[in-house]
């Protein structure tokens, strides 16, 4: 049919497929690179052989250290980037990310409270992640509760309250840091800088499963997200239950962020930069954007982690430092090239 050949929309769908294919190839390459680089050098060609043989030191390194770490990098990067994309869609504001919405502030505060006051259960490996998650969800709930009124959610109010909660949480955090011991101070700071060096495999797999689940749920809300690009009122005119959709999207974004924060600490910027870059390439249609941001975020964090492990090897840089620097520079580079609305 004629309209098939001339449809711009269908050409765009083909462009998405191509781009997603390229991203998948890049993902595979960065996973292989991540598995092979480190103190113990493993050649790319040898990875599969070692995994099959199952009885060497290199196998132990791969199986116990590098594979879990790469999985964590992928799922945390994907989750943060997806959460950023979702929140930017709901708020129609390109500067929103999970960490400007009070989620990371709450998580940091939760962890700090656990470190400073929870002397008895501080030793359990799951105590800090649990408190981080609790803090993330507590602040989310607070933002949500404070900004819903008689006439439903007020999106602008929600944004402002999120920023305020973030400020209050970081002030409370500073207060705790100023009254506690040097030893506690160090563990708070270490956690705030983020690290993918997570020994607990349960947390790693939880993080992978929840972020993939988050991606799937987000795809059920792709029509509301696209309609919301026109604004809340016009989305309603297209038959979208905006209040319900915004609620679900917000909860999904907070949940996957909360899990990520509890597994890897505070890693900023991923949720801001990756969605932006992908939007610039693919456009703002969420059907392509969600998956691409997820994979893009995963790639970005895997590569950042490789840098963090190798730059001052055998020491390790905090991953948050790398993402902040790398992300900021890339962002400015792209921004100065072209500025697009939406």
């Amino acid at each position: 049919m004629r309209h098939k050949q001339t449809s711009f929309q269908q050409k765009m769908h083909q462009k998405w497929l191509l781009f997603l294919f390229i991203l998948t190839v890049l993902l595979i390459l960065s996973v292989l690179l991540s598995l092979s680089t480190g103190d113990v050098n493993i050649p790319l060609s040898g990875i599969f052989k070692i995994l099959k043989a199952k009885n060497s030191l290199k196998y132990e390194v791969l199986n116990n250290i590098r594979i879990p770490r790469t999985i964590l990098a992928f799922s945390v990067g994907g989750a943060l980037s997806l959460a950023g994309t979702l929140l930017q869609g709901v708020y129609r504001n390109p500067l929103v990310e999970p960490y400007t919405m009070g989620i990371s502030g709450g998580a940091s505060l939760g962890v700090a409270i656990c470190i400073v006051f929870g002397i008895s259960f501080k030793t359990s490996p799951l105590a800090l992640p649990f408190f981080g998650f609790l803090g993330a969800f507590g602040s989310t709930f607070l933002v949500y509760w404070l900004s819903s009124g008689k006439r439903g959610l007020n999106i602008n109010k929600m944004l402002l309250i999120g920023v305020m909660i973030s400020f209050i949480a970081s002030s409370a955090l500073l207060f705790l840091m100023s009254i506690t011991t040097v030893e506690n101070l160090q563990s708070i700071i270490f956690w705030m800088m983020g690290s993918l060096n997570q020994p607990n495999k349960l947390l790693i797999y939880t993080s992978l499963i929840t972020s993939l689940l988050g991606l799937m749920i987000s795809y059920l809300y792709v029509a509301p997200l696209n309609a919301l690009r026109l604004g809340e009122v016009k989305a309603k005119h297209l038959g979208i239950k905006t209040g319900h959709s915004i609620k679900v999207i917000f909860i999904v974004a907070s949940f996957i962020t909360g899990i990520s924060v509890s597994a890897a600490g505070v890693i900023g910027f991923v949720g801001l930069i990756i969605p932006h870059l992908i939007r610039n390439i693919m456009g703002s249609d969420y059907r392509g954007l969600l998956l691409a941001s997820f994979i893009g975020g995963g790639i970005f964090l895997i590569l950042s982690d490789i840098l963090a492990r190798t730059i001052i090897s055998p020491m390790e840089l905090p991953i948050g430092v790398i993402t902040g620097m790398l992300g900021g520079i890339i962002f400015i580079g792209v921004l100065s090239k072209k500025l697009k609305p939406d």
Binding site: H3, Q9, L220, N226, G231, K234, H237, G239, G283, D342
Partner: protein, 271 residues
């Protein structure tokens, strides 16, 4: 059974602004204009029908069914709304028009069907925006954006089209182009259209039926000849006007009378 019926409609944002006891009905395939001063409740009236303002039971009926019982999705398949485009949108015109198919998309369906493309293409051609389909929406002129917005609304395949001031900010040629299109939609496609419109002369010229609102209630409704006489207009708008019949269309035309003319003419009277 009337196509759309309001029975003692009482709704609004809050206690401070509320419609009180508005009753009128609209037949299928007609063009109705809602006129009245700023703050008289024109947009509120529209928003109750679009679902933006919740309406209690037994106030608004579409095809005999109580509109408060429609689900969001059912409503979007029956009623399409055109309001002013306010923000820049980074999407092609085709992408924008295809959004009109969202109410018809199934939960797990990601992509448009051939039928969606066909319908969107049909209405882009009808609104003369087909040649713009690859362009970015933000780069269009105000008139072109309005036409594309109407194309999106028609792509929803509604039975009722609501427009909030479709011709404001447009020059006279685009005003006429859009109103001609709207009249064509009602008379040729059998679409029922209700629009809020400020310009009394355009309202008179194009609408089959007018609803004059004042202070949150219906002041007068009927054909343009019944509604647009100087008495009604002076009473509601608090402005001195002269009305005269347009010699070609036989519809009333409204001329405003400025202060200066008014004082000059009264001086002449006493000379």
């Amino acid at each position: 059974m009337e196509f759309l019926e309001l029975k003692n409609a009482n709704y609004g944002y809050s206690k401070s602004f509320h419609l009180s006891n508005v009753s009128f009905s609209v037949s299928k395939g007609t063009l109705t204009g809602i006129i009245g001063p700023n703050g008289s409740g024109k947009s509120t009236l529209l928003k109750g029908i679009t679902g933006e303002i919740p309406v209690l039971h037994h106030q608004v009926f579409l095809k005999g069914k109580d509109i408060s019982c429609f689900s969001e999705n059912e409503r979007a398949k029956e009623i399409a709304v055109v309001i002013q485009a306010t923000e820049p949108l980074n999407m092609t015109v085709e992408e924008y028009v295809l959004m009109g198919r969202i109410p018809y998309r199934k939960r797990y369906q990601l992509f448009e069907t051939d039928k969606d493309f066909e319908i969107a293409g049909k209405y882009m051609k009808l609104t003369d925006t087909y040649h713009l389909r690859g362009k970015n929406f933000s780069t269009l002129s105000g008139g072109e954006q309005q036409l594309a917005t109407i194309a999106k609304a028609l792509t929803q395949e509604p039975s009722l089209l609501l427009l909030d001031e479709p011709t404001s900010h447009l020059d006279i040629s685009h005003q006429v182009q859009i109103l001609n299109l709207i009249r064509e939609l009602t008379h040729n496609l059998g679409l029922t259209v209700i629009m809020v419109i400020h310009d009394l002369n355009l309202a008179s010229e194009y609408c089959d039926y007018l609803v004059l609102m004042n202070k949150g209630t219906l002041y007068k409704n009927g054909s343009p000849n019944e509604v647009l006489n100087f008495k009604n207009i002076e009473e509601v708008f608090n402005t001195v006007v002269i009305t005269q019949e347009n010699p070609l269309s036989k519809k009333p035309s409204v001329f405003l009378v400025s202060n200066k003319v008014l004082t000059d003419s009264s001086k002449n009277k006493y000379k």
